[in-house]
Symmetry: C2
Subunit: 135 residues, 2 copies
Amino acid sequence: MNQRDRVPTAFLRPTPSELGILRVLWRLGPCTVREVHEALSAEEKTGYTTVLKFLQIMHGKGLVERDETRRAHVYKARLAQRQAQRLMTSQLVDGVFDGSMSKLVMAALGDSGPATPAELAEIRELLDKLERGET
Amino acid sequence: MNQRDRVPTAFLRPTPSELGILRVLWRLGPCTVREVHEALSAEEKTGYTTVLKFLQIMHGKGLVERDETRRAHVYKARLAQRQAQRLMTSQLVDGVFDGSMSKLVMAALGDSGPATPAELAEIRELLDKLERGET
DNA sequence: CCCAAAACACGAAAGGCTTCGTAGTTCTTC
DNA sequence: GAAGAACTACGAAGCCTTTCGTGTTTTGGG
């Protein structure tokens, strides 16, 4: 595969199962299959080999990296959570918000059980910075 | 709030093709297969019967409604774009933002080429309303 | 050294997505 | 009223996802 392919195209549409595994990897950092399986078992009933197979497939797709130096391979998310957030957010914006990021923000603010005051303040601060800093 | 499967579960994960069709229906309103096909053909090369089949399948899934009173059936998106935005946004928030809507907002505001001043003002106004009005 | 436990690889089945081709039905126009 | 256009329905092929079961390899303890 091309080294410049920094963002695997598979990331454009991770399946729910893949996301579940990625979430574990983001939360716990690099993990063996067993560790992922145990973390996942807390919520869903999944066979060990199912998780193994997923990680193998995800490795094939470039969604995760694999360290094979030890017997129990260690898997690691290829993209940081931040990057995945960026990607998938712009996916969503393109898909259903007519490409308008601010429509997304409006919808999110309007729909959410309104964020806590602290969060609102944080957002406001970011707005200030945006209005001053750039433009 | 739960009348009777108001939101088809298929909406939780529309495929790219399905989204393409839904976007046409949102933009043009209720359409015949031919109309959808023509709108879609502007961007992609798709066979007429392919579009027909998609609409049939989407009808089966409950993604679209169908008026059969005329020979050329008329299809209509089951959910308004606004509702789809709501749904898919909260999907995204659950999936990669640890359930935090404000994290999404922060990411969107931070990543986007900063919105126009008018948009920023609009967002700020909504913030004000949130902080005062509801809780 | 041998065995059980732990780990990986592989394959396969069931179901979903995508894409059409073909066949049958209804409408329009001479 | 027959020919052809415009529609719908159906089925099938090829590929992807999800889920395991089996089989093989490695390893640590007795």
